[in-house]
Symmetry: C2
Subunit: 333 residues, 2 copies
Amino acid sequence: MSLDESSAKPHERLAALLEAELAAVKRVIADRMASEHAPRIPEVTAHLVGAGGKRLRPMLTLAAARLFDYEGDHHIRLAATVEFIHTATLLHDDVVDESARRRGRPTANLLWDNKSSVLVGDYLFARSFQLMVETGSLRVLDILANAAATIAEGEVLQLTAARDLRTGEDVYLKVVRGKTAALFAAATEVGGVIAGRSDAETRALHAYGDALGIAFQIADDLLDYGGVTETTGKNVGDDFRERKLTLPLIKAVAAANAQERAFWERVIEKGDQQEGDLEEALVLLRRHGALEASRADAEAWAARARSALAQLPEHPVRGMLDDLLGYVVGRLA
Amino acid sequence: MSLDESSAKPHERLAALLEAELAAVKRVIADRMASEHAPRIPEVTAHLVGAGGKRLRPMLTLAAARLFDYEGDHHIRLAATVEFIHTATLLHDDVVDESARRRGRPTANLLWDNKSSVLVGDYLFARSFQLMVETGSLRVLDILANAAATIAEGEVLQLTAARDLRTGEDVYLKVVRGKTAALFAAATEVGGVIAGRSDAETRALHAYGDALGIAFQIADDLLDYGGVTETTGKNVGDDFRERKLTLPLIKAVAAANAQERAFWERVIEKGDQQEGDLEEALVLLRRHGALEASRADAEAWAARARSALAQLPEHPVRGMLDDLLGYVVGRLA
C-alpha cells in the first residue's frame, strides 16, 4: 500500500509505514486464536477481528518499537497480545452492555450467545498472557498485568456508577482510564521496554498513550452529541439513549438548576425518555457550554501527550504520533 | 487447630499442617481483592471466598513447597494466585451455567447480576496475574498461562459438546482437564518450581495434580448418581436434570441399544424429562456397568497419581498427598 502523505489520515500513514509488521501481527493472531478442540473459539474471534477496526493499539506498540529502531521480533508478539486483550474486553463489554452491533456487524453475543462471548474472551485473555510470557520480559508482564487490573476495575466502576447523577469528573476519568487509556498507555510503553529503553523514555511513552487515550475517549463522547455520523459510524444520541454519563453530560448536570436536574433525573436515572428529549438535552449541553468545555479538556490532554512526545528522540514516527493527536482532537473541529 | 490424625480426613490434616500458611494466603486474598474505587469487587469476591470450600488448590501449592522444605514466601503468593484463578472461573461458570446456588449460597450472578460476575471475574484474573508476576519466575508464569488457556479451552469445548450424545471419552477427558485437572496440576507444579526443584520432580508434581484432578472429577460425576447427598452437598441427579454428559452417562450411551438410545436422546438431547426418568437412567447405567467402569477409571487415575508421588522424596507431606488420593477415590466405596 502506498498512500499520498498529504491526504492520508495519520493512522493510515502509520499503518502504511508499519504494513509488514501489521501483517506479521495478523499472522500471529490467526495462529494463536486457533483451537484444535473447540472450533467455536476461532469462529467467534474471527467474526470480531475480521470486522477490522483501526488497530490503533497494536500500532502504538509497533510505532514505539520503531521509534527506537528495535530490530527483534518481540514487538510483533506484544502487538498481538494487546489486540487479544482488547478483543477479549470487547467480547465481555458487549455481554455487559447487552450490545447488538459492533463495528457494523451483529455482536458475538447476539450471533452465538453470552456464554460463548464470556468463555472465548477468557480464552483470548489467556492466550495474550502466553504470548507476553514468550517475550521473557518481567517488566513487560508487570506493565500488562497492571493494565489488565486497571481495565477490569474501570469496568466495574462504570457498572456501579452508571446512570448515577452523582458521578463526578474524577470517577469519569478513572472509568476512561480503565476503558481506553490504560491499554493505550501499556501498548505504547511495552514497545519501548522491549527495545530496552531508559525509564525516562518508557515513562514518556506511557504518558503519551495515557493522554492520547483520554483525549480519544472524550472526543468519542463529544462526537456522540456532535452529529458527525458519517465519520464515526455511530448514531448521534446513542450514549444519551443508553443513559451513559459521559463528560459533556457530567458537566451539564453539575451546572444544572432545579428544573434541569429534574429533566436529567427523568431521562438518565429513571430512563423515561420521550420524543424531543435528545434535542432538549442538546439545548442544556449548549446552555452550559458543556460541549466546548469537554473539547477544551480533550485539547488539554492532547497537549500533555505532545509534551510527553517532546521527551522522545526525533524520528519520523514521532511526527506521526504527533499528527495522530491532532487528528483525534481535530475530528472535533 | 489440632486434629486427631487417625480420625481427620486427609485434606483436614493437610489444612492443620499448613494452618499458618493458609492464614497468610487468606490475608493476601483479602488484601488483593480490595478496590479503592469499586466496592462491588470485594463484595462479590467476599461472598464467594467467604463461603469456604476445601481450598484444595492453594493447599496443593503450599504442600508441594513444603515437600521440599521451601523457606521463601512466594508460595503464599502463588497459592493466592491459584485461588483467585479458581474464584474467577467459578464466577464465569455460574454465569455460563445460569446457576443459582454455589457452596450452599445463592450465586453472585443471582445476588448481583451477570455483569458483575463477568467483570469481577476479569478483575480477579488480572489480580492473579499481578501476584504471579511478583514472584519473578518466568517458568511459573509459563505454567500458569498454559493452565489458564487449557481451562478456557475446556470450558468452550464443554459448551459446544454439551447435550451432544456423540461426545466420547476423549472429549470428556479434555473437558475435565480444563474444568479441574489443569489448575490442580499447575497449582502443584508451581509449588515445586518456586522451591527450585529439578525438571523430573516438577514433572512428577504436575502428573500428580493432573491425575488427582481427573480422579476427583470422575468421583464427583459418580457421586451425582450415587446417593450420598450428605457428604457432597449435591442432590442426586443434578447432572442428569442439567443434561450433563458425565463419564457414567457417556459409557452407558456407548453401550446403548436402539431403545435405550431413544431414551437418552429424549432426556438429554431434547431435555424432555418426566417423572421416573432418573430412576430409568440409573437402571440403564447399572445394566451396562457404567458406574463400576467409571469407578475403575477413577482408581486407575489415582494409581497414576500414586506412581508420580513415588518419584518424589520421602516426606510426611508426601504421605498426606497419598492419603488424599485414597480419600478422593474412597468416597466412592
